[in-house]
Structure formats: structure tokens, C-alpha cells
Symmetry: C2
Subunit: 259 residues, 2 copies
Amino acid sequence: MKEKKTPLILISNDDGVHANGIKELIQALRPLGELLVVAPDGPRSGMSGAISSIDPLHIQLLEADESMKIYSCSGTPVDCIKLGINELAERQPDIVVSGINHGSNSSLCVLYSGTVGAALEGCVFGIPSVALSLTDYDLNADFKHACRYGRQIVEEVIREGLPAGICLNVNIPAGTTIQGIKICTQTKGRWIKEFYKTRDEAGEELYWLTGEFDNTEPENDKSDEWALANGYVAVVPIQIDMTAYTMIERLHEILSDCR
Amino acid sequence: MKEKKTPLILISNDDGVHANGIKELIQALRPLGELLVVAPDGPRSGMSGAISSIDPLHIQLLEADESMKIYSCSGTPVDCIKLGINELAERQPDIVVSGINHGSNSSLCVLYSGTVGAALEGCVFGIPSVALSLTDYDLNADFKHACRYGRQIVEEVIREGLPAGICLNVNIPAGTTIQGIKICTQTKGRWIKEFYKTRDEAGEELYWLTGEFDNTEPENDKSDEWALANGYVAVVPIQIDMTAYTMIERLHEILSDCR
């Protein structure tokens, strides 16, 4: 390896800059390089790849020393990554790390998660990126294992890089014993019983999003839900090119009569 | 083909229920079946696959006759699809159609677009889904060609179906002459010059998201940006499985030392 400058690590999350998960991540990654933290000023769970197309963004510098700056931002996780890279970083970050999320982002959560949205945005800029989530929604969850595995994975990704357009979606199981790491596919399935219906004080119906995950994979598959259920850290490589290449030939047939 | 019930078409968008694009789409699709429209109560551009994980959702029935119901919803485009399928539809919709968006959703916009987010959500439920966008941001844009091609594509998709987990991202070029349809891949590239920086009345810095698309595809590629630039309707099949299968073997090597 050639001699290199200290790595610049851009950190964000979707639980907000004051969440325990990002604080623990900052402590775990400080020894690895210079840190630039740009995270939402409050919770932005479920924001996916959302961007602020209507409102302008405000930022606030919360903390700064010679090897770390921490900004809060009024926008989404993706806004934070865009601002960090375009406006706040003095050079191109070497890695984007998002998390540690309070709660699982396995399976189809890649479509909804702001934590994953931020990592995908790092990918858009051609920067190796990692999303980290702990499958424990408790505000006081124990992030010890998540930090240990997260740091190791981040070290390897800084050293080895990742191909353009591919980032890592990492979920760490809650609990005290971990069996190791599994490289996985994104679990197939869907949510069921998604709404809890109630009424407000004026008698108007309200719908609260909730739900149970219905896993449609076969037994003993190699998906991330299987790995987590069996005590492994699940690492899924995910890509920003969503083209369904296998469908292109068939689609020519289906749309052949459209004029 | 077996005799079937009238198709049930679930419609949403991200410009809101009062936008011209969705009104034109409703008129174009009325002859094809029964319509259930569930769309945001105002603009939700750039909302990607965001879901309302914190606030409850309100809905309002705006219009109803024997073959159409129109609801507005306080949530995101994905919330609208989830509510439509789980709570408002009396049977499983035969197709989800999202749009017609005021403005392009080609290339990497699949990561940010609420229009595309709604179509991907139809996919999650195993329903054939189509996102429609016109590359014209004018509120009074002419949707004639977009409606004609959109309707033909929707008819074919109702007839032929789509494989599980795959939907269509369709962009129609603005202008009066269209060369036909091209089946495309998602254009590779990124945005540059993404922020316009200004100050508010108190002197605080504000950042407005803007930008230019930097297309990194080779000349004469088969991507959606190429098709649109050459006057074609661009149809990209996109999938909800984001796993980068080509990366799995290499990732075993990269992470082999993590314990």
C-alpha cells in the first residue's frame, strides 16, 4: 500500500445527531482517521433516499477539534451526505459510514431506510460506503458488538475499497453472543398487517404505520434475515443501478405494439 | 385469455392529488378499468421510498362514483400505496400507476423520486407497477403524448403482467414529436454543482438543492438519458432486489479477517 493521508470519514445517520448510535460510532471510528459528521438535527427514520427539493437547508456546527467536526442539518440523511461532500469537506471523503441505526434495516428496508439512503448516496459520489444497523430499537441499546464489527468492516473497506456503485448494508444482531459474519442476499418478503387504525379527538380516522415482516425465502437460504435469526452479522452488498437486466429482452416483446 | 373482472387500477403520484399530471392520467386510464386514486394532499417531490414512521396518516375522500374513488392522504407516495392496497381497495389492484410526474425521473432519479418510490412499493406487493414522468417541469405542460404512451404501456402491462419484484420506470420526452419507445438501462452519472448558497434575513447560511447531471455513459449507449435526448420514450425495467450479486465472492475475501 502506498503511503496515504489520514483517511477522511464522513458519518451520518437517520436517528439524528443526538442519538446514541451515532455517538458510539463516532467513538469507535475516531482512531481510524479524521471525522466529518453531518447528521439530521432530529429523527428522520424511514426517509429512504428523500431529498429536500422544496425547502432550503440550514446547518449548525456543534463541535470541532483538529480531527473532527460535527454538524447538524435541517434536512434528510441524503441531504447531509450531499452537503458534507459538496460544501463541508475540504477533500473527497475516503469512506461514508451511516448509522449505527437503532433498529434493523435488513431485507426490503433498503427501500425505506434513511440509514441505507445515506450510504447509497455515498455510492453516487463514487465513495465506498457502509450502512450499519443494530437490530435493537431500545434507545439505550448496547452498541458494543455493533461498534466492534462496524469498525473492523470500515477498516477493511478503507483498505480494499469497493467497486463503483456498490455499498454495504450491515445489520448486527442484538444480544450478547455473535457467531461471526455472513455475506448475504437481500431477503425476499413483504410486510403484512401494516396499519393500526384509530380516531383522533374529533372522530377522524388515523392510520399508524406498523406491521409484521412476512419472509418468503425458502428454509436455510443465504439471506440477511436468515443470518440475523441465527446470530450472525449480515452483510449485503447493494447497488445503485436498479436496472432489471434480465427483463430487457422480454420487455421488447411486451411493448412491441406500442406506437 | 380467461374472462376477467374489470381491472382495478391504483393511481398515485408525488406532485399531489391536485397536480395536472395526475388529473390527465386519470382521464387517460378511466376507459381501462375501475380507478382507485390515493395521492398526497400536496407536493412530495424527492420523497423517494420514504414512509411516515412517526406521524399518523389522515385521508380524505374527495370524489366517488361507481367506477372511481379519489382520496387525498397526508403522507408520502409510498404511504399512499400502502394505504390504498391495505385499507382502501376492496380487492388486490391489478396494476399500480404513478404519475404523470411534472419533470424527468430518468437515471439515478430512481433513488430520489417519489413517483418511482410509489411504483417500487406496488412491486413490493407483487403488483405490476409503472412510473410515468414527463420531462417538462412546467405546471401547464402538455401531457398529450405522455398520456397516449402511458395508456398503451399500462394496457400491455395489465394484459401481460410483469415478473415479481420488477416494475417499469417510464420517461416521456417533452416536445411535439416522439420517435417511438426504447427499452433502456438506468443511465450512470451523478449530479454536480448541487447547492445554491445564500443567506436568510438573519444572515444565516441557507443551502438550496439544485445541480446539473453529469452523464458518465459512453457515446450511443442504451441508457434512458440517451433515449430521451434522441426523442424516444425511455422505459427502464427496475427491480426491488438491490443485492449486488457480482460482489458476493469478492466480499468474502475483503471481510475474511473480521472476527
